[in-house]
């Protein structure tokens, strides 16, 4: 890592990365020098799907409506004529690739690549943002307490993460391999979000145009309070609509948005949020073409929500096919994912 022109490692690393593995195969061989008793895992099973976790179970939450008195549908654009204008000047996305490359007496040795990049739009074409190069980070995720014989210098390497530390409540993951995998994947997700927010903050600090962030922006105070970043959430494990609001939400038609409500997750920063139906869901499932938008609570929110909703509608073309989430995905995000796949 770090050898590719225009790609940086994690800003916090501050270490010499020469010789650090750049692929799962290299990672398998590399750790044998530091943990001789581990066994290589041959077909490198990928762990890209987020494991079902207690906190991530699907849930309906009552929306804290801050636009009007009740949750309603608001027409913002005719889907047939909404194309053509968008104020988004950049697209931020991150990817993660988690592999079990070795095992030591049944304990998974995880090696993961996380990456994030911003693609700026210049003359209708997407190019790498010159404000900050893309970030690619490759790390081992190892539960130190369950692995014997790990060399001390390897343990202290900043690119080697202990996934079995005590949490704030003093709990540690069990030795169960699935629990250890969950812990590793969770840590990889944190790392990924961290580099995504690092780039988002850099954008907000230097640019004047709006950034399309794939996912939530509540993890960073700077980003969540900036009008230069808008988060678009495609997954709906938490639906901010119960009761009548739920019926309103699933009844949204293409070109409509919901009322604005306030979202303030625990340990995160509050933002204004609303739903937008990008495409008609007739004949589809209830969440088809539905995204949740997060924006800073600032200025004329209602007008901004209308404008941003129209921008999101416009970003529906060109289609992000063949991605399975094409109904909710902006083409700029698909382009960023392809870009990250190419460089990481």
């Amino acid at each position: 890592m770090g050898h590719r022109t225009g790609v940086s490692g994690n800003a916090d690393d501050g270490i010499e990365l020469n010789g650090w593995p750049g692929s799962p195969h290299e990672a398998t061989r590399y750790i044998l020098g530091h943990l001789p008793e581990c066994d290589p895992v041959e077909d490198f099973p990928r762990q890209t799907e987020r494991p079902v976790h207690g906190e991530d179970a699907p849930v309906l939450l009552p929306p804290d409506v801050i636009e009007g008195e009740f949750f309603r549908a608001i027409h913002v654009a005719d889907p047939r004529t909404a194309r053509g204008t968008s104020g988004f000047a950049g697209f931020l996305d991150g990817t993660q690739d988690v592999r079990v490359v070795n095992q030591s007496h049944g304990i998974p040795i995880v090696w993961a690549t996380v990456s994030a990049a911003i693609r700026a739009r210049v003359n209708r074409r997407l190019v790498a943002w010159t404000g900050r190069p893309p970030i690619v980070s490759r790390r081992y995720y190892i539960p130190f307490r369950y692995v014997d014989g790990l060399h001390s210098e390897f343990r202290s390497h900043p690119q080697v993460i202990d996934t079995a530390r005590e949490d704030a409540s003093g709990k540690v993951p069990s030795r169960h391999p699935a629990a250890l995998m969950e812990a590793a994947v969770q840590r990889v997700q944190q790392d990924r979000e961290s580099i995504e927010l690092e780039l988002a903050e850099a954008w907000c600090a230097s640019e004047t145009a709006t950034l399309f962030v794939d996912g939530s922006i509540t993890g960073s105070r700077l980003v969540s309070e900036s009008t230069r970043a808008v988060g678009i959430v495609k997954s709906h494990r938490r639906l901010y609509a119960d009761g009548d609001a739920f019926r309103t939400l699933v009844g949204l038609r293409a070109g409509e948005r919901s009322s604005i409500f306030r979202v303030a997750p625990r340990s995160r920063y509050p933002v204004a949020s609303w739903y937008v139906r990008m495409r008609s869901a007739t004949g589809r499932d209830a969440l088809f073409g539905l995204v949740r938008v997060e924006a800073a609570i600032a200025g004329d929110l209602q007008a901004r929500a209308d404008e941003i909703s129209r921008w999101i509608m416009a970003e529906g073309s060109p289609l992000a096919l063949p991605d399975a989430r094409w109904d909710k995905m902006a083409y700029g995000i698909r382009d960023t994912e392809e870009f990250l796949r190419a460089i990481s």
Binding site: G84, L126, S317, P318, L319, D335
Partner: protein, 652 residues
Amino acid sequence: MSEPLGRVVATERKPNTPHEFHFWTSLDCPVGIGTIVRVDGSHPVDGHIPHIYGIVVEGFSYTDLQSPMHDVLGHDGSPANAGFGVTERSEIRLYTAAVLRQIPEEPLQPVPMGEVFLAGEEDVAAALRMDAYLKEGAHTGIPIGVYRAGATDSVIWLDADFLLGPEAAHLNISGMSGLATKTSAVEWLLSSVFTHFPESKGSIAAVCFNVKGPDLCYLDQPASRLEDSDRALYEKMGVKPAPFQKVEYFAPYNAKGFSLNTLRSNEALLHNVTPLTWGLKEVLQYAEVLLNKDDLDAKADALIDFIGERVVNCRMEKEGPLSRDHTVQTFADLEAWFRDLLQGMERLNNESWRTHHIATIRKVRNRLSNISTRCAGLVTDTADVSDLPFGSFEDRAVYVVDVASLEEDAQDLIFARIVSRLREHLERRDLGVKHLIVFVDELNKYAPGDAQDTYVRKMLLDIAERGRYLGLVLFSAQQFRSQVHRRVVGNSATALYGRMDGDELATPGYSVLSPATRTKLATLEKGQLMVRHPHFTQPIFVRFPRPAVLSGREGAERYPQAVDVGIEAALYRSLRPLDPEITLAWAKNMAALYDEDELIAARNATTLARPDNARAFFQSRLKKIIPVETANGKEKASAPLRPLPVGDPYEP
């Protein structure tokens, strides 16, 4: 160092090889089919960073769309909506290049990954191995055109040793008619050869056969218009944009024999037009050109050989069936000899004469006697001969033989005899020049691939296969290369292609070209050519300037062909350039006194001899006529009888 314009890419499905590689560029990159590029490898091989030169032979463009249906869905089925998309799909320009050269040449390896650069002038010279023959002191380059790509403007040189011998030789041009390819290209190339052919290699001249229209009739006249871009090309290639300085035209007379059978018959241009007339001796040697296989069996061939060796220009004394002595010098003499011989054989009831059967003699008489009719204007009944200046050819001169208006037989005869004579003189090293280019258009007709063998085709094959050892170089042209005999085009080391017809490009001969190169060939602009040359491992596209000579079409408009005239005007036109004091009235007077055949014979002899006193020479060739004297309208009295001699024994 210039910016790279692309990067080499290779995948398992599309790997690079020692002869082909792939690279991508930005969308606005000035790369296209035919562009020459250089790859700089990133890892040294044997201590040297490899440099690979290639020419783009194929291009691909695609987006990240997996199905066209996705684009339809994305724009709600309306093409009009597509223009309003806020983002354009990611798009790639991917090119395939054929390797021209690898440096170092050994070990020959697949093309490595690396940056791709547009080839500059030095790169082009290296890529095409031109550096080998453009060295100081050993420069044998002949510019053929300019290669252009991006900011590169590079002269492409052919190697004279491979264009004009002795290493390889001959040039073949293919292209659609009417698109300024074949004739223009050869006119330009002759200018270039005459300018750049190394002095050390000796003298050079060209004989061009004008086989259609007025194409080559105005090589000594300046072009009516030459664009600045053309002048720039001439300057870059070091060729003077001027017509040829030394041009001689040759054309036979028309059937009546009054005027020359050429489109260059305008009086203003007749100063360097010479009649082409041959007699019995010149024609008999090539009789087989005019006789088909049925005519020319072994017996007839033997008799013709006998006539050529023992009859023509020999004295045949009265013996056997011959009733008198014969000295056969003309077709008329030959006919008289035949008549006398056959009458004698019939009289003596002989079936054969000197082993030749009477039927064979009759047949040969029949076939030979009508040659002067079939080739009227070229073949004369007299012994006067007007020919190309074999033996005194001049350096850098062009000799144009206009056969455009002639019958096929006459064209074949002219071609066969002239080329044979050229070859004979070159073998003896007494032509006057060391190298000679022969240009023949419409090779489809003269050396077809699928027709029966002809004398002309055999001659063309002979030039193509053995000419380079003699300094005899064939520049040939045709519309359909696929229809020309394979050995003729195969022996042409250098080949030029202008815009080609799609059907022609579909023939197997073009299968070595990539589809994109074939497409480019089918859409070439005027003034563009694709060049194949022994030093170039791949065909190269070049631009060449408009010829600096008057085009045939414009020339025909500016110098209209002289109208067919009577014998008086024909005499006046032919002889006045030799003697400006000759008047039309004088010519009319001559026409009134003598018959046409006699006048034409005298005219031919005069124009051939080009005497100081043309009028006197002309009149000396005519029979003396003593006009009848009259005195005051009275009949002249009879002369008195002579007186009887003195002492006449018969005196009554």
